[in-house]
């Protein structure tokens, strides 16, 4: 009897916190469908009294948010492909080869986890200029493709792939690239999926890199555009809220589909969300 009382209290808390997490998000998404008159009303309602898409169309037409969405999608997709490829390659080298300097390389890679971008953002700006990437979408794609956490999870995962698979392929005369593409990659699929999903989310939500690397409005990503609009003297809340909704809905959907990968990724490698 006592136990059941306890679990009832637990459910009250559980539901309360679920509401605290969900209601603000849902409220903002619903607000994106309200016409100005309701948005700025002194007595707002939770559901729009009159549904409209005008906030979205206005943001896409006047605010050029179509460009920003395209830029963000491009960066997130291409960066994820490059990142998964080169991190799997590095993880493979560190897990399956014995070579001079391997442990030092691993230590250096892992220690950079403790070096946040915020600490090196000033000189990174100089390096981006010197390497000609400044004000190019590639500045958001290439540098961020080499993550220490990505290398780490690929290495840990590939350690569990049996060496016999590679050895028998070598005896059969398969080249190293073929071994990598046809044996290692298929065997690393779960880890690649986890890393890919995280990478896409990181790049989609990224702010500090774009802030340092991009000043040309044609190259803005969604986050950069939203933050710049919020800094304006008279904030156009209609477009802002529509864009906030457009920015978060894809991530929420990705999360609902790939929940399991997120949980595993965090619990095994402490991947930052």
């Amino acid at each position: 009897m006592k136990k059941r009382q306890g679990s009832k209290v637990l459910y009250v808390f559980a539901i309360f916190f679920a509401l605290v997490c969900l209601v603000p998000v849902v409220y903002i998404i619903l607000n994106a469908f309200k016409p100005s008159s309701e948005l700025y009303s002194a007595t707002p309602t939770f559901l729009p009294r009159q549904w409209t898409l005008s906030n979205f169309t206005e943001a896409l037409q006047k605010g050029r948010f179509g460009t920003y969405i395209f830029n963000t999608l491009f960066v997130a997709t291409v960066s994820t492909i490059i990142m998964v490829t080169i991190n799997t390659m590095s993880g493979y080298a560190l897990a399956k080869f014995k070579f001079r300097g391997s442990s030092i390389i691993l230590i250096i890679i892992l220690s950079t986890i403790m070096l946040p971008l915020e600490v090196i953002m000033v000189p990174v700006f100089s390096v981006l200029k010197a390497t000609g990437l400044y004000n190019s979408l590639w500045a958001l794609i290439i540098p961020s493709a080499a993550t220490p956490t990505g290398i780490f999870i690929m290495r840990q995962y590939l350690l569990t792939v049996p060496n016999e698979l590679m050895e028998s392929a070598r005896i059969d005369g398969a080249g190293e690239l073929r071994i990598f593409a046809q044996i290692i990659v298929p065997n690393a699929k779960p880890a690649i999926a986890t890393l890919g999903i995280f990478s896409f989310m990181w790049r989609w939500n990224d702010y500090v890199w774009p802030l340092i690397a991009i000043s040309d409005p044609d190259k803005y990503t969604l986050q950069l555009a939203i933050s710049n609009f919020s800094g304006e003297y008279a904030v156009d809340w209609n477009s802002m809220i529509a864009m906030a909704a457009i920015s978060m809905v894809p991530m929420l959907i990705i999360f609902l589909i790939f929940q399991r990968q997120f949980v595993q990724g965090i619990q095994t490698a402490g991947l930052k969300g």
Partner: protein, 298 residues
């Protein structure tokens, strides 16, 4: 015979180069965009540099100035300490509480886990926009409610105290779900038999929590403390859209100060010195965490 040995030697030599080739693209990016900037930053911090002209070596002058003649820097740094000191424990407790709820309930586990994790998926920029809309002075819900019950309008994000605590609350709101997942991993690894034995011995819930749960999940606790301290120390994007650092610099934290010093006032050398100080402070925080908790030893 001899051709066979040479080809074998050649094969061996090739095998030695291969791991380096697999590592090459990653290492090239690492060196160019992390190691080189780190070294450059350390050098810049010893120079007077405006980002345009050549840096001029001035020794430790930047550091001396930071700590003797720059109240704005000290304010931002102390404000960040205060922020970390309040937000990290709150995030810790919230995350552990949520993990406890999800692990303990029977029905709707995955629904509640998903709900609590939801805010983590939203970019910090958008999180700031959301809460600015919800809590802002003009259109915010606080004043809608006050209006509805006949109270006067109050200052929300234009009030320094309210704004500061809002940055605390919003950080906890947006990060707790992430650390919750880490705690869940720890909590689920505790064998049920430990609690059953404690039940038989008549230990109550509190005793069980402090004597069994906490000691077993200690390594997770340390990881959460170190990661959340680093994360919360570099709070910036959320503040950009939530308060812009105001009102009256009440929510101005160190990363914003470094960013503006370098990119708005072009004192690149000086800002680099701030970055070095920040790195040292973050490292000390982690080391203290690690030492106090004795590195996860039980």
């Amino acid at each position: 015979m001899s051709t066979k040995t040479t080809s074998y030697k050649w094969y061996q030599r090739k095998q030695k180069i291969i791991p380096y080739l697999f590592l090459a693209p990653n290492l090239a990016i690492f060196i160019t965009y992390i190691i080189v900037p780190a070294v450059m930053g350390a050098y810049y911090s010893l120079t007077s540099f405006d980002g345009l002209h050549d840096p001029k070596f001035i020794g430790l002058k930047n550091y001396v100035e930071l700590f003797t003649d720059d109240p704005r820097f000290i304010d931002a740094l102390l404000n960040t300490f205060k922020y970390v000191g309040v937000t990290v424990p709150l995030t810790f407790v919230a995350a552990l509480g949520l993990a406890y709820i999800v692990v303990s309930i029977f029905r709707g586990k995955s629904f509640f886990r998903a709900s609590y994790y939801w805010p983590v998926m939203i970019s910090t920029i958008v999180v700031g926009v959301m809460w600015q809309w919800i809590l802002g002075d003009t259109f915010g819900l606080v004043n809608v409610f006050r209006n509805a019950i006949g109270l006067e309008k109050m200052q929300t994000l234009t009030n320094p105290t309210f704004a500061w605590w809002t940055t605390v609350f919003v950080m906890v709101w947006s990060r707790a779900g992430y650390y919750m997942v880490m705690f869940m991993g720890g909590l689920l690894s505790i064998p049920r038999s430990l609690y059953e034995a404690a039940d038989i011995d008549g230990a109550n819930r509190f005793q069980q929590f402090f004597r069994i749960t906490l000691p077993v999940i200690k390594p997770t606790c340390i990881l959460v403390l170190i990661l959340s301290t680093m994360q919360i120390f570099k709070v910036y994007p959320m503040v950009v859209t939530l308060t812009g650092g105001g009102p009256y610099n009440a929510t101005r934290y160190i990363v914003q100060h470094i960013y503006e010093t370098a990119f708005e006032y072009y004192e690149v050398g000086y800002a680099s010195a701030m970055s070095v100080v920040m790195l040292i402070v973050v490292t000390i925080f982690s080391a203290i965490n690690f030492a106090v908790t004795k590195g996860g030893e039980r």
